[in-house]
C-alpha cells in the first residue's frame, strides 16, 4: 500500500517538531453488497475507500489528521497537520527503526469474495427469499442482504511497529415480516465471519431464511411481555450482548481511567457470581470480532477479564496502557483511517458452566426465556443497561410456554453479574454484531452458555 521507506520518512517527519509518538495507519477497503427486497434484487453496491490517518501524541495531547492522498507528499502534509495539532515542543531529528512483524491470522480465507461472480452472490438472496416465503403464507415480506469486505491495513509507529493485515469479512442476513390478526411481526437472522465465500458451504441460506421466518410467525401468537422484575433465562449464543453491555464497556480502560465506570477501583474484587468467567478474545476466528492485529498494530490476544467472579483485567489500547506503564491488550480499534483508535471489545464471551440447560428452565417456576436478543445500550458511569428481546417466551411452572412480543430488559451491570445463579454446560457464539462507541462502529462477536439471572426488569406492558 505504501513503501516502507516512505512510512519511515512520514513518521520521522511527524516528530520533527517534537512529540512523543507518531503513527501511520493506512487502509484500503473494498466492499460489495447486494440487497433483495420485495421479491426483487434491488441493487448491488460496490465501494472503495483508501487513505491514511496520522496520529501524533505529545504529553497528554493527541493530534490527528487523515488524508485520502497516499502519496508521500499527501502523507507528509497530514503528518504536519497532526503534529501541529499535538503542539509538540522541542523538536529535532529522530530516527525511527521499523521492525516488520507478521502476526498469525485468526482465520484462513478459502474463497476470496472478490473472486466470486456477482451472480452467485445474488443467487443466495433468491434462495433465501424462496425459502422464507415457503415457510408460511403469513410471510408477507422478505428482505435479504449479502455483504463482503476486504480491509487491508498497514500500521507503523515510532516505537518501531510495522505490520500489515488483510481482513476479510462475509455476512448475510434475512428479515421477514409476517401478518396476522394482531398486526405485523418481524423476525431476523444473520450469519457472518472473518472468512470468505466458504461461509455458505458451512451455513445453508435456507436455514437462515427459515429461522427468520419462523421467528416472525411465532410472534403472531405473542402476547405482551410482562411489566415486572422476574427471573430471566437466556439461551446459549444469543445473550452475549448482555455481557457486552452489563460489563464489557465498563471494563474498557478509557472509561476506567476517567472514573466513568462502575468497575473502576475494583481490580481483584469479586464483581460477579463465582459462576462467571468472562473473556475477550481477538484470536477467535472465524468469529466476527477476530483479527490478526488490532488497529494499532498489536497482535490480537485472548484476555481473561473476570475469572470465577473476580475482576482480573481491563481492556487496553496504546494510549491507556502507556499511562499505566503496561502492555496493551490488543484492544485498540477504529472504524476507519478517518478515526482515532479507542479501547474496543473483539469477541467477548462467558465460558460454559456445569448446569444442564433444560434443568435451568425446569427450576424456574415463573419467568422469561429469551431465545434471541437484539442490541443493547449501557451507561458505564451508572452501570444501568438495556437490551432488547427479539424472541422470548414465558416460563410457567418450569416450562417454556407462550411467545412474547418484543421488549427491552433493564438492569444494573454489577447487580446483574452478581445475580447470575445458573450457568449451563452448553456454549455458542451469537450473530455478528456492530458495536458503536463515540460514533464509531466496529465488528464484534459475543457468546455465552444458557444462563439465568435471578432478577431482571422486563419492560413489557402486561400487568
Amino acid at each position: 500500500m505504501i513503501d516502507g521507506d516512505v512510512v519511515q520518512r512520514v513518521i520521522e517527519g511527524a516528530l520533527r517538531s517534537g512529540g512523543d509518538f507518531a503513527e501511520v495507519f493506512a487502509e484500503d477497503r473494498r466492499s460489495s453488497s447486494a440487497q433483495l427486497d420485495d421479491g426483487k434484487i434491488e441493487d448491488l453496491s460496490s465501494g472503495r475507500e483508501r487513505g491514511a490517518g496520522i496520529r501524533v501524541v505529545s504529553g497528554e495531547t493527541t493530534g490527528f489528521a487523515h488524508t485520502s492522498d497516499l502519496s508521500e507528499r499527501g502523507l507528509l502534509e497530514a503528518a504536519k497537520v497532526a503534529a501541529e495539532a499535538a503542539r509538540g515542543g522541542g523538536g529535532g531529528v529522530r530516527t525511527v527503526a521499523l521492525q516488520r512483524t507478521h502476526p498469525p491470522a485468526p482465520t484462513t480465507v478459502e474463497v476470496a469474495p472478490e473472486t466470486v461472480a456477482k451472480a452467485a452472490k445474488v443467487e443466495l438472496l433468491r434462495r433465501a427469499d424462496e425459502a422464507a416465503r415457503a415457510t408460511g403464507a403469513a410471510i408477507r415480506q422478505v428482505s435479504a442482504g449479502y455483504g463482503d469486505s476486504r480491509r487491508q491495513i498497514l500500521v507503523a509507529n515510532s516505537d518501531g511497529v510495522y505490520v500489515t493485515d488483510d481482513q476479510v469479512r462475509t455476512r448475510m442476513s434475512v428479515a421477514c415480516v409476517a401478518l396476522g390478526d394482531t398486526g405485523m411481526q418481524t423476525g431476523r437472522e444473520s450469519v457472518g465471519g472473518t472468512v470468505g465465500f466458504e461461509l455458505f458451504s458451512r451455513h445453508q441460506v435456507e436455514e437462515l431464511a427459515r429461522a427468520a421466518a419462523s421467528r416472525a410467525l411465532t410472534k403472531l401468537q405473542a402476547r405482551p411481555a410482562p411489566s415486572a422484575t422476574l427471573p430471566v433465562v437466556i439461551a446459549k449464543g444469543s445473550g452475549g450482548v448482555l455481557f457486552h453491555e452489563a460489563c464489557g464497556h465498563g471494563l474498557e480502560a478509557d472509561h476506567i481511567a476517567k472514573e466513568l465506570s462502575v468497575f473502576a477501583h475494583h481490580m481483584g474484587d469479586t464483581v460477579a457470581s463465582p459462576l462467571v468467567t468472562l473473556v475477550d478474545d481477538g484470536t477467535m476466528g472465524p468469529e466476527w470480532g477476530a483479527l490478526a492485529v488490532d488497529d494499532e498494530g498489536t497482535p490480537a490476544q485472548r484476555n481473561v477479564l473476570i475469572k470465577d467472579g473476580v475482576l482480573t483485567d481491563y481492556m487496553w489500547d496504546w494510549l491507556r496502557a502507556r499511562k499505566e506503564g503496561r502492555p496493551t491488550s490488543g484492544n485498540g480499534r477504529r472504524e476507519s483511517y478517518q478515526h482515532l483508535p479507542m479501547v474496543r471489545m473483539t469477541n467477548t464471551y462467558v465460558l460454559g458452566g456445569k448446569d444442564d440447560p433444560d434443568e435451568i428452565v425446569r427450576q424456574t417456576p415463573h419467568g422469561v426465556y429469551v431465545a434471541q436478543l437484539g442490541g443493547g445500550q449501557v451507561n458505564t458511569a451508572t452501570g444501568d443497561f438495556v437490551f432488547g428481546t427479539t424472541e422470548a417466551y414465558l416460563i410457567e411452572d418450569g416450562r417454556i410456554t407462550e411467545p412474547l412480543r418484543d421488549a427491552n430488559l433493564i438492569g444494573n451491570g454489577p447487580e446483574v453479574l452478581r445475580n447470575i445463579d445458573a450457568v449451563g454446560n452448553d456454549f455458542a457464539m451469537g450473530s455478528p454484531g456492530t458495536c458503536g462507541k463515540n460514533g464509531q462502529g466496529v465488528p464484534v462477536g459475543t457468546g455465552q452458555p444458557t444462563l439465568r439471572v435471578s432478577a431482571l426488569t422486563v419492560g413489557g406492558t402486561a400487568r
Partner: protein
Amino acid sequence: MSVSETAGKGDLLALAVEVAGRARDGEQIEAYAARGRDNEIQVFNGDIESLSSAESAGIGIRVVAGNRQGFAYAGSLDPDVVDDALAEARDNAGFATPDEWVGLAEPDGVAAADLDLWRDDLASYPTADKISRALELERAVRAGDPRIRQVDNAGWGDSAFESAVATSTGITSSGRRTTCYLTVFAAAGDGDDTQTGYGYSVGRSPADLDLDEAASDAVERATRLLGATKPASTRLTVVFEPRITSTLLSILAGTLNGEAVLKQRSLFADRLGQSVSVPALTLVDDPTDPETFGAAAHDAEGLATRRNVLIDGGVLQQFLYDTYAGRRAGKASTGSAVRGGFKGRPGPGARALTVVPGTASPEEIYRQVGDGLLVQSVSGIHSGVNPISGDFSVGAEGVLIKDGALDRPVREITIASTLQRMLQGVSAIGSDLTILPSSATGVTLAIDDVSMSGT
C-alpha cells in the same frame, strides 16, 4: 490549524454534471458528489485531549438501464477512481431484477427555497478560540455544582459540508452548510450514587452557540437524578421532554416512509385518511424552514424540498416519497429523498419533522397531568422499538410528577406501549418548540396510559 478554504462548490457540481453526461443510449446516470471538512477538539482535566482535522470527499453513482439499477461509491474524487466507480455501477445494474418503477428524478418545476445555511465566520474562527471555548465549557460544568465528580467529552466540533447532484435526466443541484457544536457529559456523585447528564449547543456559526446553556443542562440533568430509586411497576401518564419527543418523531418517520408503506413494512399502511392521533396533533416535515437542523433546499435526488403535512388534526394525510416510491404509489416525489452520504443510495426520509406546538408551558402540563413521569432520557431505542409491529419499550430515567409538580427522581425503569396507542394517547402538546441536532424538532408532550416497569 484552521478550516482552510474549501474549493468552490462549482467544481463538485461540474464533476457531477460531467459524470452524468457520460450516460449512453438507454441509460440514466446520477452522480452525487460531496466534500466535507470536520474539526473536533476534546478537552479533559483542563488539557487538550485530542485535536482532529479531517477532510473527506467522495462520489456515489447510480446507473439505471433497462429498468435495472446499480450503485457504486468511492471515497475519492480522483478521475481514475470515479471511472472505476461508474464502471462498477454499470456492471452492478446488470444483476438487478427489472423493476418498472426504477428511475432517476426529473425536474418537476418546484422552485427550491432560498436557504443560506453557510456561515463564512466559521471558516475563519481560530482554533485557539475553539480550544478555549471547550476548556471554558469544561470549567463551567465543574463549577456548576459541588457534586459534579467528572466531566467527559467536553468538546468543540465543526463541519463544513457541500454536495452536488446531477443526472442525465436534467437535474442539477448543489448545496452547502456549516455546523458547529459544543458538547459535554457530566457525572454527579453523592456517596455511592452516580448520575449523568448530557448538555450541548448546536448552531451554524460560533455566535449561535450557548455555552452556558450546554453547561447548565449537563449539570442540572446529572444532579437532579441523584438519589434516584427504582419505583414500583405501574401505568401512568408520561411527559416527554423535547429531546425525547424528537427521538419519538424520528422513529415515527420510519413508519411514514412511503417505500416502507408500499412494501408492507409500516404500521400505517392502509391508514391514509384515517384518524391515527388526537385532533390536536399536526405533524409536518418542513426542510425549507432554515431554523431546523435538517434544513435543505434540495433533497438527495436534487429535487426542491417542500413542506409536507403528514398528519393533520390527527388524520393521516400523506407519506414521504422519493422518486421511486412516488412512481410506484402513483404519486409524485414529495422531495423527501435522503441518503447517508456518498456511500448510501437515496431513499425516502424526514429531515425536519415537527409537531405543531400547543399553548401550554411545561409547568402547565405537569399541573394538568397531576401524577405521572417526566422522562429525561431513554435508552435502547434500536433494540426496543419496532416501527413495523409498533411495539415500543425503552429504558428510561426521569422525575416523577406528583400533585402537578416535579417530585423525586427515578432510574432503571422501562416505559412501554405501542406507537399506535401512544399517538392516540397524546393528552398535551407544549408550546416549547425546541430545535435539536436531529431530523426532528422537540416539544414537551404528555402521553396517557403508558406502562412503567420497575420493581
